[in-house]
């Protein structure tokens, strides 16, 4: 360090006199290079601090006449505009939604009945997660799959009037995938599930969800694809929530990750509401959306996440 200081300090003034030639990365000696880089960094920081102070002083000096603060750039601000963003007044979208597979649900003709199952041989965590999920979603049943083929159980489910099928895929004793299939010829969505927290792992004061039908909140589903996924998720819950239960299930989409939370709320006053989290939580990321029911080989894919094409920009989201 001493030698670096000695070596670093004397040549620097010389080189600074010839601006175009000096660059920290051109020094071959690693120790010296590192030292010079740190010094350069410190200089940058100082300059930045000085600039900030100056700006603040100017702002205070101007007082009321100061220009409004610039809005910081966030990823949501900078999001690349997606052409399929749904405009609330779009007629075409409204027409589509009136005639797609969820129309009977939204017209209150069908009551959702869900079948939850897992992949083969579920381990303890998955089993418990399935149970908790079935308490969250009203009118749902958990059945174990002992080696039965999906293609065979789908016609059986349709015969027994199930409207939706959820398959929780498991890997190394934790659930990591979710296949949601709307049964009578509905779309199938395949999600990657992560950060699953069971009820006992959420810090709370020990409450269980009651059997009331919860409300549903769907946040941030803007594009067409997002809209259809949102409708699919909403179709899991019966249409008329029981407000006395004061439970709410939230699907919040942020940057293509759908966060699921289940809360109980209470209105403390008109402007304040308190929420207490019960129920499991997990995050989903859409991997593919198929038009028909679950079929891995011959299904017609409406949307697949193609990593090379779709992950190119940090500011591009599809949901």
């Amino acid at each position: 360090q001493g030698s670096a200081a000695e070596h670093g300090a004397p040549p620097a003034p010389e080189r600074v006199l010839f601006p175009p030639t000096f660059s920290v990365s051109e020094i071959k000696n690693k120790q010296r290079r590192h030292f010079m880089f740190l010094r350069w960094k410190q200089q940058q920081r100082k300059e930045k601090l000085a600039a900030k102070k100056k700006r603040r002083k100017e702002r205070e000096a101007l007082g009321d006449k100061a220009p409004p603060k610039p809005i910081p750039k966030t990823i949501e601000n900078q999001r690349i505009y997606d052409e399929t963003t749904v405009d609330p007044n779009d007629e075409e979208v409204a027409f589509d939604e009136a005639t797609d597979e969820f129309a009977p649900y939204f017209n209150r003709q069908t009551v959702p009945k869900i079948l939850i199952t897992t992949s083969d041989r579920p381990r303890g965590r998955t089993v418990r997660f399935c149970e908790q999920l079935s308490t969250v979603i009203p009118n749902s049943h958990v059945y174990y799959r002992r080696g039965l083929a999906l293609k065979k159980i789908i016609p059986q489910c349709i015969a027994r009037d199930f409207t939706d099928l959820i398959v929780i895929n498991e890997d190394r004793k934790i659930p990591n995938g979710l296949v949601l299939s709307h049964l009578p010829e509905g779309p199938t969505a395949h999600f990657r599930m992560s950060s699953v927290r069971l009820r006992k792992e959420i810090k709370r004061t020990g409450k269980e969800p009651t059997g009331h039908i919860p409300e549903v909140i769907l946040n941030n589903f803007t594009t067409r694809l997002g809209h259809s996924v949102g409708r699919m998720l909403a179709a899991l819950f019966p249409h008329d929530p029981q407000f006395i239960g004061r439970q709410v299930a939230t699907f919040h989409n942020q940057r293509d990750y759908i966060f699921f939370r289940f809360h109980r709320y209470i209105f403390k006053s008109e402007k304040k509401v308190g929420i207490q989290e019960l129920g499991p939580r997990f995050t989903l990321k859409l991997r593919s959306l198929q038009k028909g029911t679950f079929d891995s080989k011959f299904g017609e894919y409406e949307w697949i996440h193609k990593r090379r094409e779709m992950d190119t920009s940090r500011r591009k989201f599809h949901l």
Binding site: A149, I244, Q254
Partner: protein, 270 residues
């Protein structure tokens, strides 16, 4: 490599172990069974062809029928040492068994293993964390719920007289005591009456035991004065996980009755 035996790496070996008797290199008269694409072949090596490496191994296709194939082996390996014959048949049996198993398994569903890419996993986890922070879920949910409250989706369940209180205040300040607003006047009068009581008391509700009493007393009042304001019934149903023990600035309707019951409840609370 087991404790007593080595494995032989030669592909023409019949037993798979490295012994003098089962080494294809050590024996000039040798036979094996090998299978290709589901069909079994009998390979034979005789000493006459030892000089012609290209034609060394003679290949015979065995029939698909198990018994017939065994007969074919016998027929081809007639006058051959017992050991080789026996081992050939054993090997053939084993091969057919595993071929059958393969065929059965392909009919069932097969697990397709998709390897995880570490870099991508890490990237997605990091993005998920950042998205979670950016999402500010609690705030978003609370905002949404308040929105719904404002838009009256809950109907008459929740009724915060503070809202009406503010409205009434505004009305008073605007001094709109015209006779056309007769209804409003009535409400105003009721509000002013209540407001008097409010100013006298600064009490807050501490328990929801109070709510029970309030509800009952309010019900009586409801019949009398046709008050539309009710306390939230849900709270008195005993399902409330109260976020905090104390709630401040309760609607003054309740406070009015608190006057009577307050001293007792305060003692209870403490």
């Amino acid at each position: 490599r087991t404790k007593t035996q080595n494995f032989c790496r030669n592909e023409y070996n019949i037993t798979g172990l490295c012994n003098r008797s089962s080494c294809p290199l050590a024996n000039s008269q040798y036979a094996t069974i090998r299978e290709e694409k589901g069909r079994c072949y009998l390979y034979m090596k005789t000493i006459e062809r030892a000089a012609f490496p290209r034609r060394l191994w003679e290949r015979v296709l065995l029939s698909r029928n198990y018994e017939k194939a065994l007969e074919e082996i016998d027929e081809n390996l007639i006058y051959w040492p017992r050991f080789i014959r026996h081992k050939c048949k054993q090997r053939f049996t084993k091969i057919t068994q595993y071929l059958i198993r393969i065929r059965k398994l392909t009919l069932k569903r097969q697990r397709k293993l998709v390897p995880l890419r570490r870099k991508i996993e890490r990237r997605e986890n990091r993005r998920e964390e950042k998205a979670l922070i950016a999402a500010q879920l609690d705030n978003a949910i609370e905002k949404e719920l308040l929105e719904r409250l404002k838009q009256d989706t809950y109907g008459d369940i929740y009724n915060f007289p503070i809202h009406a209180f503010d409205k009434a205040l505004q009305q008073q300040e605007a001094e709109s005591e015209s006779e056309s607003d007769a209804e409003k006047e009535d409400e105003e009068e009721e509000d002013t009456d209540r407001r008097e009581f409010v100013e006298a008391d600064d009490s807050d509700l501490s328990d929801f035991e109070d709510m029970d009493k309030l509800e009952t007393s309010e019900e009586e009042l409801e019949e009398e004065e046709e008050v539309e304001k009710k306390a939230s019934h849900s709270r008195s149903k005993g399902k409330t996980p109260l976020k905090g023990p104390a709630r401040s600035k309760r609607p003054y309707v309740n406070i009015e009755y608190e006057e009577e019951t307050e001293p007792t409840t305060k003692t209870k609370a403490t």
